[in-house]
């Protein structure tokens, strides 16, 4: 028996990460500035850490209910109502997950299988493709365009629909482009979706990191409320990536289905993280505001820096990514990133890591200190010359 043959073909065929080689390179280099990591450089605000520590001291070291501590779900409900004008019943419409990623996986596993199609606008977070393939459903990529500032347009959506379409993923604010969708722009999509039996997974993990205006969820459209599963979490806004805590909100029937998988696969999200998250929602807004203000400054410095170097980029208004076009250098995304890393020790991620249509672009994450961003720009400038 060959053990390799025992692995399911659909898993075997998922390609390994294309950028593993960069991380292998970094491990052998000193003085690398990484604009490659997609997580906050901040540590979790201390009041949040302290709440986690206190919960341990109090002996809260047991499982929580499958869907999450009710008090946390109530806080999430309150947060969604206050910030996004979305009402969810804490008892039946909210599930606390291990990161936003688990929510995406649970939603897909609850809703699609072989024969179904999942529409994935790209470039976007790699997990959408992987999780879709694991269910046996077919991912259908939409190639978003730089001239649309990588927004999903009604025309692109219409072209991707088929009778087998069951899910549309709406990934805004977007990783890797930093694009956001305004209410008007979402409205165009709603016109197409409202009469169709298509559900939406709206990945809003970067919602709090929106720099002009306030984030709008597609679920705020009455026609879409029941048909949308909103995914959010604590990783990005509260700098809590390592705590692994997210949540999904949606129709009770869908949340109930997701809880079924969650209860067998995970049991419950980590209890300590849940107690910390209660503190984050109750008293974390000032810390989030401060981080967002600083991200915004870094965003402006990096966009301005890229443009001065002749790397074209639209103004990204969400998340903490900039997606400059590097076609003017004559290099492919992969060559650009590899040569930049080797010659100037700056890591960025090739756009192709987020879908084929990312060719010609690279992702720069500005969750790094201002000093590092300034130094990285100098080095990138030397590389381009």
């Amino acid at each position: 028996m060959k053990i390799e043959d025992m692995i399911l073909p659909k898993i075997r065929n998922i390609p390994p990460s294309g950028i593993r080689k960069y991380f292998d390179l970094i491990n052998e280099m000193d003085d690398v500035i990484s604009l490659g990591v997609g997580e906050p450089d901040y540590t979790t605000p201390w009041n949040v850490c302290e709440a986690g520590i206190y919960s341990l001291e109090k002996g809260h070291t047991h499982y929580s209910s499958n869907a999450g501590i009710l008090r946390l779900r109530e806080e999430i409900s309150y947060h969604m109502k206050n910030n996004y004008n979305l009402r969810y019943d804490p008892k039946s419409q909210i599930l606390v997950t291990v990161g936003g990623s688990e929510g995406i996986d649970l939603a897909l596993r609850s809703l699609v299988g072989p024969g179904d199609e999942v529409i994935i606008p790209e470039p976007s977070f790699v997990a959408y493709q992987g999780c879709t393939k694991i269910t046996g459903a077919t991912p259908v990529s939409i190639r978003l365009r730089a001239e649309d500032e990588f927004k999903l347009t009604p025309e692109l959506l219409e072209n991707a629909l088929s009778p087998r379409t069951k899910i549309l993923i709406i990934p805004y604010p977007n990783n890797p482009t930093g694009a956001i969708m305004t209410k008007d722009e979402l409205s165009g999509l709603v016109q197409i979706l409202k009469d169709k039996d298509i559900l939406v997974i709206s990945d809003e993990i970067y919602a709090e990191l929106t720099y002009e205006g306030k984030h709008v969820s597609i679920a705020t459209f009455e026609e879409m409320k029941d048909k949308t599963i909103v995914i959010n979490g604590f990783s990005k806004a509260y700098a809590m990536t390592g705590w692994r805590l997210g949540y999904a909100c949606g129709h009770p029937a869908i949340i109930q289905a997701m809880v079924k998988i969650h209860q067998y696969a995970i049991m419950c999200a980590p209890t300590t993280a849940q107690y910390a998250a209660i503190e984050a929602l109750r008293n974390g807004a000032a810390s989030v505001d401060e981080m967002v203000r600083e991200y915004n400054r870094r965003r402006r410095v990096l966009v301005n820096g890229f443009r001065k170097l002749g790397l074209n980029c639209f103004e990204p208004l969400g998340a903490f990514y900039i997606f400059p076009c590097i076609q003017s250098t004559g290099l492919s995304s992969d060559d650009f990133c590899e040569q930049l890393l080797i010659s100037q020790k700056v890591l960025m991620v090739p756009g192709t890591a987020f879908g084929e249509c990312g060719e010609g672009f690279v992702r720069a994450c500005y969750a790094s200190s201002m000093e590092q961003i300034t130094e990285a720009l100098k080095r990138i400038g030397r590389f381009i010359q």
């Binding site: 990484s34 990591v37 203000r293 201002m370």
Partner: protein, 159 residues
Amino acid sequence: MDEILSILEKNCRYTEEQLAVMTGKSPQEVNESIRNYEKENVIVGYTALVNWEKTEIENVTAFIEIKVTPQRGEGFDKVAERIYKFPQVKACYLMSGSFDLCVIIEGKSMKEVALFVAEKLAPLESVQSTATHFVLKKYKDKGTIFDDKLEDGREAIFI
């Protein structure tokens, strides 16, 4: 609060051009704002935050609690002025509670600070009593933790 002030309070070495990019304003607007702040004494100075413990230079800091008799018509201000004009006094606050003035003094040695208190502060007519507390270790000052810089603890993970 004005964004320029909150940035400068953390790091006053940014140039006007850098501040302009960060805040989305023009360099002229930034220049004008800073000039106004300086003129109106909103920005009263630009200093470096030094961890003297890391240098060869001996430096001692002490907090002095002072009880004073306020003067008729002058309140505490006159006696405070007598005190804060000494260059050894780095900070001087009027306090609520069991004493009146809190004075922060820096000197080269504990002896130097103690002598300053004994010779200059305690004998002042309005001063009833003093209590000197020496700082043994400075953990955090002006919002900055005086520890070695934290390493970036993020793993090389692709997300």
